[in-house]
């Protein structure tokens, strides 16, 4: 059932960063091996993040669920991350199944596997991990009741592309759902004698699980198609409401998280201060699906943060939310936390702070004289297009901010833009260049000539990708040639002396778009692409567009049907059976308003 350390050691010779696979971090909460052996009724669950350890480890969703599950005496949760390619090759060569970190239990010996599908480009890794764990990738091929395989996380608001592989999905906040879920699994496991005695099938258990808030069981829904692969209807005509935690304060933050032994991205104590966002930027999926806005009480939070810093030994804390500037007690929180005495000085980061001249003081307080990391996201170059996407930032705002920044000694700034936005015209592309030039002019006026050479403006360009549950869910994505023309135009016209330009590949955005807006046919495409070797699609070096296009072709699906096509408003959408709390009429109205601008 599990792999001994001696056996693991044999697998690790010559493997890059073996620390990824050895566990024994601080903050481990899983029940130990002896306890599990003495309690056969315990529900064994594994939380899986389909990317490599360093990328998956900072994910707060896994940390939250890990704490909740392990607090319960009848459940145990372990973790597993995608093995890097060298270790995957070793596992396959030595015919060893993928195992969890804590007790090194093989994946197929668990009762429950929960994948965090944080974004679409992780889908192939999910299939790969199932396969490495000795589990059939298709739900219908898994004859045993356990392990039950489920996915949650941001991308699963449209569960259709993964529905072939999952027994069920959890949509929305997982805190309460996970407990009800494991209770039902536990009861069933006991009744059926650890799933060995077939007193009832998987279907019965899934029926029970399907009653829980936020759970979508694909087997109980049938999708009927028109001849053109658009959806005719989804039966039964009921909606699965996303699970929602009304008051975040009822759940303490994770004060004793697992602290990694090896260097990971965002290696810091991370605290969610607010869930949801009221800004309503029309392209932003997170903003719509995580509504309503719920704040944590700063007073309670401060104590919890201090405990957390003491427990972990971190000297950096990060306050996360979709728009930290909208958190009403931000200044109070920051001032109180900066008083915390740790052995050096505590660094505070606010990854999603929208800078304006009002909270500039705050930014300086946080940065404590370090002149790094000023990021602005105007998203569009012109005011007209910013109004269309409802990005509430004006040119004056931005330039005022830049003025303060430059005059206080900053010489590096980062600007984020999107191209291919709905209703974008050539003038809007020009406007990006004009705006960047204005920023440079501003800098030239303020920064003394001698130091001007140090000015660096990092411009990051992303291709727009329409996502479910946003007003732009119906909008077409620009085709690749158009996106490339737009980017090349910017690239040619931009003053290269001070600007460092980078962009994400439009090919990747195209696949992301198809997977985001996909229906159940996409399951076949994902499986085909995975069989051809697609994995780590989010890693620019490993993403293989040609392979994906071949998968679409072989499965007989036209990718443009999902990407460059404008979806008619009366068409049934693949995600119509999910209710995230925002009405379709409202989204359509918003889309209409954008169109009129």
């Amino acid at each position: 059932m599990n792999l001994e350390f001696k056996e693991l050691e044999k697998l690790l010779t010559g493997i890059e960063k073996p620390g990824r696979y050895i566990n024994h971090e601080s903050g481990i909460k899983s029940k130990n091996k002896d306890f599990i052996e003495q309690h056969p009724d315990i529900v064994l669950s594994v939380l899986a993040f389909p990317d490599v350890y360093e990328v998956g480890m900072p994910n707060s969703g896994i940390q939250i669920l890990y704490q909740i599950i392990n607090k319960h005496s009848g459940f145990s949760a372990e973790r597993v991350y995608a093995p890097w390619m060298d270790f995957e090759a070793r596992l396959r060569k030595e015919k060893v199944k993928l195992f969890s970190l804590e007790n090194r239990i093989f994946l197929d010996c668990f009762d429950f596997i929960g994948f965090n599908a944080a974004h679409e480009m992780l889908y192939t890794n999910i299939l790969n991990m199932l396969n490495l764990g000795g589990i059939a990738v298709s739900s219908k091929d898994r004859k045993n009741i356990f392990p039950l395989v489920c996915a949650g996380g941001s991308a699963t608001v449209n569960p259709q592309p993964l529905s072939k592989f999952m027994d069920f999905f959890v949509v929305g906040d997982g805190e309460e759902t996970i407990v009800s879920l494991l209770e039902k699994i536990g009861y069933f496991k006991k009744m059926s004698g650890n799933g060995k005695v077939k007193i009832a099938g998987k279907e019965l258990l899934l029926k029970e699980i399907g009653k829980i808030d936020g759970v979508y069981v694909p087997a109980f829904f049938k999708v009927y198609f028109n001849t053109d692969s658009s959806i005719k209807e989804i039966k039964p005509d009921i909606k699965v409401k996303k699970a929602l935690i009304k008051d975040l304060n009822n759940y303490e933050i994770v004060m004793d998280p697992v602290v990694p032994n090896i260097q990971i991205v965002h290696d810091r104590f991370s605290v969610e201060i607010m869930r949801g966002c009221a800004r309503g930027c029309r392209f932003c999926q997170a903003g719509f699906v995580s509504r309503p806005v719920r704040q944590r009480n700063a007073k309670i939070l401060i104590n919890q943060c201090i405990k957390g810093l003491k427990n972990t030994g971190y000297d950096e804390i990060s306050f996360t939310s979709l728009s930290s500037a909208d958190y009403s007690q931000l200044e109070y929180l920051i001032t109180n936390i900066s008083n915390f005495k740790c052995s050096g000085s505590l660094s505070i980061s606010l990854p999603s702070l929208r800078l304006d001249s009002f909270n500039f003081e705050l930014a300086e307080l946080i940065l404590k004289g370090r002149k790094t990391g000023l990021t602005f996201a105007p998203e569009a170059g012109s005011q007209r297009l910013r109004d269309i996407i409802k990005k509430d930032i004006s040119q004056e705002d931005l330039l005022n901010c830049m003025e303060i920044a430059f005059s206080r000694g900053w010489d590096k700034v980062k600007l984020y833009f999107m191209i291919g936005l709905p209703f974008e015209e050539q003038e809007d592309i020009e406007a990006i260049i004009i705006l960047i030039n204005k920023v440079i002019d501003k800098a030239a006026k303020i920064i003394p000539g001698k130091k001007m050479g140090r000015l660096q403006i990092n411009v990051s360009i992303n291709a727009f990708c329409p996502k479910p549950f946003t007003p732009f869910q119906w909008a077409p994505q620009d085709d690749i040639t158009k996106l490339k023309d737009k980017f090349n135009y910017i690239s040619k016209k931009i003053p290269r002396r001070f600007v460092k330009l980078n962009w994400t590949s439009p090919e990747k955005s195209k696949i992301e778009c198809a997977l985001a807006r996909g229906n159940i046919f996409l399951g076949d495409v994902i499986e085909n692409a995975w069989k051809k070797g697609a994995k780590f699609d989010n890693w620019t070096d490993y993403f293989n567009f040609i392979l994906w296009m071949k998968a679409f072709e072989e499965e007989g699906h036209d990718i443009d049907f999902y990407t460059t096509r404008e979806i008619p408003p009366d068409e049934v959408l693949p995600w119509d059976m999910i209710d995230v709390g925002v009405k379709k009429e409202y989204l359509l109205k918003e889309y209409g308003m954008a169109k009129k601008l």
Binding site: H24, T312, G313, Y314, S343, G344
Partner: protein, 235 residues
């Protein structure tokens, strides 16, 4: 006599933790200090850094019974209390073995340490001389000579001993030079070459490398060997 509270301590890095890099170990130790509420002194640089320094790094995959660290504490905690406090928050794979107060100025660990003693546990299981202690010994002598002939040997290895406790297990005690000076020098102990270098050679002699342990580190004092803690003499 100095007034600062300098502590030198020795700790091990075992079992799973042998797969953590030197930088990982430094980070873990720093966090353990913070968790135990130990306040380390910071220097007065433009970007203040904690006054903490470690001994020479151990290659990945090698267990170490002798890692050393020097640090300056803000308060006057004794070496014993310090050890107790830190060991509570450290995992069993990484514990402080002993600590001493440094009452006078000494060179830094990295500058001071001359030799590293590695124990190679080599097994003959599966080899053609399994169970034949005479052949094992003969081959071990050949192996020793072979390593001694290796290019760069004199710059890498100070001394090499062998010990055969039973007929199937052979211990190779290698005193390597700790300082990695230039690219050309110290070829064998250049970090990434370490395990692959020895595994390759051992294969030629039909031996299997079971494990490598970093046993101790030494300072050469008038042809005597002292470990960094022994170097600190009590008054």
């Amino acid at each position: 006599m100095i007034t600062e509270n300098i502590i030198r301590f020795k700790f091990h890095k075992r079992a799973e933790y042998k797969y953590l890099s030197h930088l990982d170990i430094i980070r873990l130790m720093t966090r353990a200090l913070a968790r135990s509420n130990t306040i380390v002194k910071y220097d007065k640089g433009f970007n203040p850094k904690p006054e903490i320094s470690f001994s020479n790094p151990t290659p990945l995959g090698v267990e170490s019974l002798a890692e050393y660290c020097d640090l300056i504490l803000e308060d006057d905690t004794s070496a014993n209390d310090f050890t107790g406090k830190i060991n509570i928050v450290l995992p069993e794979q990484m514990k402080i073995i002993s600590a001493k107060k440094v009452p006078y100025k000494v060179p830094s660990l990295m500058a001071d340490i001359d030799l590293v003693l590695y124990i190679f546990k080599i097994s003959t299981a599966g080899s053609k001389f399994y169970g034949n202690s005479i052949s094992v010994n003969e081959n071990a002598v050949k192996l020793k000579e072979r390593i001694e002939c290796e290019n760069g040997f004199s710059k890498s290895i100070f001394k090499i001993d062998q010990e055969c406790t039973n007929k199937n297990i052979l211990f190779l005690k290698i005193f390597g030079y700790a300082k990695i000076l230039k690219e050309v020098n110290n070829f064998i102990f250049k970090f990434n070459n370490f395990l692959s270098f020895f595994s390759e050679i051992l294969k030629e002699y039909d031996f299997v490398l079971d494990e490598v342990i970093k046993q101790e580190m030494y300072i050469l004092q008038n042809s005597f060997l002292e470990n960094p803690l022994e170097r600190i003499k009590d008054y």
